[in-house]
């Protein structure tokens, strides 16, 4: 009887240790494996509530994204609604860690983006250009700092420190990762002041995709200084698409086309 009890306790302790003993690398590998690669088309519905306002502004956005295995990435964000802003767009590229891009508005034409424009809000929302292009979990310095339950979800906390060479506006990012589903449930993005986050990102809805991985489909970005909020909701998406090179050019930015 005592032997059985001891075996059971040992088994329980082993299982508990297995659940807890993730390294930062293991967690990051899990999260990265879930990331869709290749060509992706997504339709987003963004609900932006400016600081001091209660009435949200609704934006319908289409996204085309292409990620190459060598870390190069190209992103095309185009606004479909509201009608008076239809056609506004952003072309963002990361190549060898360098950011280039263009913005387009039917009224003011196409402009080249500067590295300092990374902090600009995507279509004037709380979600910034930097948030969509910087892969915080790819930074070399990743430390597992603890665990915390978010609601009833046990999460591991990872701190990502920006390398000195990084042009990102974020210097430190704290991510709460659900180790069961490898989904980032919460993020705090810090600037040079690492005591007060610039913004927080909270995942509200997670769905399992066709390949069996879980992905956040609805999340809210809050500017902690102003209280402005943007909720991003994934309406539909299509992956493993092949985009022609012309899909990520300033000319493509000026025309609206759907997924190939």
């Amino acid at each position: 009887m005592l032997a059985r009890l001891t075996t059971l306790l040992l088994l329980a302790a082993t299982l508990a240790a297995t659940a807890q003993d993730y390294t930062a690398e293991q967690l990051l590998a899990g999260v990265k494996a879930a990331r869709p690669s290749g060509g992706i088309y997504a339709r987003l519905r963004m609900s932006h509530t400016p600081a001091g306002s209660t009435k949200p502004e609704i934006l319908q956005v289409q996204v085309k994204r292409r990620i190459a295995p060598n870390g190069h990435s190209e992103h095309l964000y185009q606004l479909l609604f509201p009608a008076n802003r239809k056609g506004e767009g952003l072309l963002l590229k990361i190549s060898d860690g360098q950011f280039t891009g263009s913005s387009h508005s039917p009224s003011s034409g196409t402009k080249t983006l500067q590295p300092s424009d990374r902090s600009l809000g995507l279509f004037a929302t709380t979600l910034s250009i930097d948030d969509v292009i910087a892969e915080f979990l790819d930074w070399p310095s990743q430390t597992l700092t603890g665990t915390e339950n978010l609601g009833n979800i046990p999460c591991h906390i990872i701190e990502s420190k920006a390398p000195a060479s990084s042009k990102s506006t974020a210097r430190l990012v704290r991510s709460w990762i659900d180790a069961k589903r490898f989904v980032t449930q919460k993020m705090q993005v810090f600037g040079s002041d690492t005591t007060r986050p610039l913004k927080t990102v909270l995942t509200e809805k997670v769905l399992r995709n066709k390949t069996g991985y879980y992905l956040p489909v609805t999340f809210t970005v809050t500017d902690t200084a102003t209280g402005a909020q943007t909720t991003v909701e994934g309406v539909r998406s299509d992956s493993d698409l092949t985009f022609p090179d012309t899909a990520f050019t300033p000319e493509a930015l000026q025309t609206l086309t759907t997924a190939p």
């Binding site: 319908q60 609604f81 909701e233 086309t257």
Partner: protein, 370 residues
Amino acid sequence: MTLLQLTLKNLSRRRVRTALTIMGIGLGIGAVVALLGLAWGLEASWTDAYKVRKTDLVVRRSGGGLIAQPFPDSASEQVAQIPGVSQVASLLTEVLSIESVPMMVVSGRQWQSFLWENLKIVSGRLPTSADEKVVVLGTLAAEMLEKKPGDKITIEIDEFEVVGIADGGAVVENGAIMISLPLLQGVMQKDKMVNFINVRLDPKSRDPHTVSQVIQQHIPGCRVDIAEEVLSQSDGVKTFKAMNWGTSIIALLVGTFGVMNTMFMSVFERTREIGILLALGWKRSRILRMILLESVTLCFAAGIVGIIAGIALLKILTLMPWMQGRIEPQITIELLSLALGLAIAVGVASGLYPALHCTRINPSLAIRQV
């Protein structure tokens, strides 16, 4: 004094306890009314759409959820050739986020098919050709999108003119955007693809089950449902209904134990009184009837409270944006009778054990109890 009068008097002795018990079981019954009203409403909302279109059979691809996966439109020509089939109409249905509305049904309908016949124009007009870049909005869709004839509407990257507002005769039709099939196929980049074929049978034809089997044999990988059964056969709806029943049963079980507890307390408090009644010559069966009647009366009152609460909750839910145009809750006589029947059943179930306990009371011992 009749047994009923005695029952009411007993229940009114402890008014707060009675009221709280009624509230407890009433909430359970309210949950039954609200959850089943929603589940039945979901089924009826979509079935009504097929009824108003006078569709007998629905052909779709096997598997998938409420909105089926697309397949080539050429299948409709094959279906039209099958004996017993009178008319076919292809449909591409998409659920899209349109302008400020999070989710809306966009229904691409085969031009000049019977799918346009049920639309009664309230204002404006119907499209004049399949290529005319216009849409017709259901009355509810027009309200949600705040559009009128002449306004522009953006569907994905394309802009269309609203030419008419129509009453489709069913909540799903009224909550939808109606557009000609080739236009929606163009918008969604699904050239010559559809996800439903609506079939009308020849009135003189064989029964729908036989025709549906023939269609299934002719078109591999397809599934054919009798229009009234489309929703009840859906895995998603089955799960939704099972969840609603599960939640309702849990709520009722909690209520049953609550009433049983109340009845036991009431019986223990009246042990001496019941002993006197037995000593005076009351039959044990009459004591059993009295306790059961108390429990049933309590639950009947709770049933009425629950029905009122359930209806109120459904009315509130109907006002929610995510409900509009998709589900019209069903508050039917069947549902209300079921709720009241369940309340009475709970009354019998929860009162039976305390009542049986009473019949075993020894009058001489009970009278001596202080």
